[in-house]
Symmetry: C4
Subunit: 276 residues, 4 copies
């Protein structure tokens, strides 16, 4: 055992508010989430030819999945050294639950992410002439007609689970000890996780797995009341999926369960072999 | 020669059954194979537009290949430190043949993989409304009308051969000694191997190269008796391909053959230069 | 703090002109930019079937994005050890602003890049029979009819910002100290940044983010006066985006701002606690 | 200068013929080239829907490029430690010209590559029912109607140049000294180089840049005399491109030119400052 788990982060750490690194990290989350949504949603609004004359040239769902996954790879690579590179309130929530960041920092990140995402989508909306906006189906997150609301919630849950599971696997101190350069490589599997979840779930929910993304697109592009109605699915599903991944990583993979069991057994063994 | 081949794993090691790491690894295989099939088959059932109105937007065979290969990259990355990241009875079989794991552990992995795969496919089936299920062609593994059963078997054999060959190359102790961080990078070529085998063989067999995948999809989605009839191809082909890759790696690439030859020669040399 | 920022490069360093490495680097930029444009524009001129009979076989916008991003990954990998692997006047400009290269070297690179790009596009033009040239829409950089000139400028600004931000992140001495092999991995996120910017902005401006590319294609393939008219957008946008990324990296992420603030505070503190 | 260029390999080294590693390397080249062509050509024969009913589902040129590039990445990764992972007579020729291997070994590799490639294509041909063979356009290498033979030769020259340039960059001892893990990462840019060259040149020549591939496909699938007529282009172009890349790397990038120049100058300097 040649690694150390860092001590749990305090829930409230007022000292952070005096550090430039705290503000810098929040700014980095804001800028990166802005760039993420700007390029991803720009891809979505143009993913198909409006007039169906040359439809095969456009990037389609595969291009959308590449845009989301590719931007996450690039931006996590760029910001991981500054803020950890979350760009996603569900990831930040998982890090809070795992006691890897304080409540204050988590709140600041989530606000920065939601603001950055909204600004990014707003830029895409403002850049495009109004009469082209009808091409923007696929931007908002809604549950497809072929699936129930429950299925949509389940898909968001499992999609966020696999993303956060990858994040935990990539940033595990045990892994870092074994392979000293994992932090450098971590953004690649994280980006791929986002990519494959999009491939699978764009036709089901439009793929949220990021509450800031769903809030921003549904806020700016909502054409119907339905878009706003489904929004809770894209907050509850990802947060529950992130929570499940944190629990799975801590109690199954990092053997939290067996440690509890062992300390129990040790107690029993102490009881049965009492020192005289 | 600055590396050591680990000693062959015992076939039966009852001590494993008392270790948490044994159960943890089996759980990790179960969860990862569940996630693998859930996202891959979700992609397949939606790979094309049901009504052909906007068919070019969907991800097509290229997206299916990306889903299978991408999920394998992500999930092998996440689970390699826990269970080795097989997610495939053919890979587990190859590791057993190469004496890298005990028979007990191999059996537990295979059961976990088949259960996880079946549950993953079941979730996809249950999530989608029944009247959309006719869109699910391409989910099950059958030999295409343009190919004979023998060709299908051959394709499964060669496809699994290249996958297991990549796994052996990536996890070779000789390689680890030379390039200390190969384990970190191994999931990428393994994922790419799965990707390119899918590109080449989706139109031939739907691409099995993973008996747990074929069992699960054919079990849940079989519409015809034919699907069940072909299932043996997707167990025999991959197991034979895995066996061939293990033999090729051990006796050709790792020079097992020449060592046998040399010890034979040494014997002859001993006979011709006897000590007086 | 276990790293050193290298001292700022002198603006004028006549000694460089006597070094072979200066000429070698300029030649490498010339050859690499030639190869970049040759393969990228070859992909563009054939991205769709001219007669629409089998249009879905062609690579489409997704293939164009892969060609630009993939070539940048390969060529930055090949030339980073020789010239830094810019292949783009906007990147060279950012490096000049950040005082990482002299004015003389920056000027030589930019000339080499523009010459190489023009020669690369000229080869594509010369190779193809004249009656196929009408297929070459999408080669030149113009603002699409659905967007205003201002939006086109904004898109070029943000696209170059994310590219140069990635370049700075990948080559930061602080990062190098922490992860000793980042230079090896840097080309991958840089290539992906180019890829995703293309996915998002091909339908808007044809994607410039590289003034040498825009100059070369518009020079060789301009069919209309409009193509030449828009060219300023593809020089001003990228240079401003590169400048913004350099400022963002230096004053926010590398805490230049807080250092200035601290030295100001230190002064104030000095004033309020005067030595007696 | 913390690296050593290995001494030039002898042209004739009869001792090699007694080493198992020589035969093992040739076998590895044979098997890998077989696998390369088997999967790549399997992808090509099915890249489009024969009846145009659901053409968007098939992988198209993008999938073909992924198959060639992806297989090269995987197989170079698997065989680089055994044989260097050439899989291509043009790469082997470049290594011979650069004196990195003996003539005997180069000849053995080329024979193994051509045999492996032919067997791989033969398997694809034999597996598919005869009445489907008309779908196999795009398998053979011919110059497209839109381009002259000279353009085809030029495209093969430049395509092989960029591939061999990447191979030299990735295996440079200077680079290895600076970044100790480049050998591990080398297969990725090499695979990407193959990928992007295919994207750009499939519509022009079908993309050769590998004489063994062109020989095998044209031999097995030639339907017309034209296919055989063009074959010389796919041997001369790649060999000349490989030669140019070797010269460029040695005399420009590795400063062979300046060394010659310096030794000339040193002579002049000796003349002008004679020892008394």
């Amino acid at each position: 055992r040649d690694y150390h788990d860092p001590p749990p982060a305090p829930l409230l750490d007022m000292g952070e508010l005096k550090q430039w690194s705290f503000y810098r990290a929040s700014i980095a989350e804001f800028i990166a989430t802005f760039l993420f949504l700007f390029f991803a949603v720009s891809t979505v609004v143009n993913y198909k030819e409006p007039n169906y004359t040359d439809q095969c040239s456009r990037v389609g769902y595969l291009g959308i999945a590449c845009a989301y996954g590719g931007m996450i790879f690039v931006l996590v690579y760029c910001t991981s050294g500054i803020s950890g590179g979350h760009l996603n309130p569900a990831v930040t929530f998982a890090m809070l639950v795992a006691r890897k960041m304080s409540l204050i920092r988590a709140a600041a990140y989530m606000v920065a992410q939601c603001l950055g995402a909204t600004l990014g989508v707003l830029f895409v909306f403002a850049f495009m002439y109004a009469d082209e906006q009808q091409n923007s189906d696929g931007v908002v997150n809604v549950v497809s007609r072929n699936y129930s609301k429950g299925a949509g919630l389940g898909v968001e849950f499992v999609g966020t689970f696999v993303l956060v599971y990858t994040v935990f696997s990539a940033t595990d101190p045990k892994r870092n000890a074994r392979d000293s350069h994992v932090p450098v490589l971590a953004p690649l599997p994280i980006g791929f996780a986002v990519f494959v979840v999009h491939l699978a779930t764009i036709p089901i929910t439009g793929t949220g797995i990021n509450p800031a993304r769903s809030l921003a697109t549904n806020l700016i592009y909502r054409g119907t009341a339905e878009a706003m109605d489904d929004l809770w699915i894209f907050w509850v599903g990802p947060f529950l999926g992130a929570l499940a991944a944190a629990v799975y990583h801590k109690y199954i993979l990092r053997a939290g369960a067996v440690k509890t069991l062992k300390s129990f057994r040790a107690l029993g063994s102490f009881g049965s072999h009492p020192p005289v």
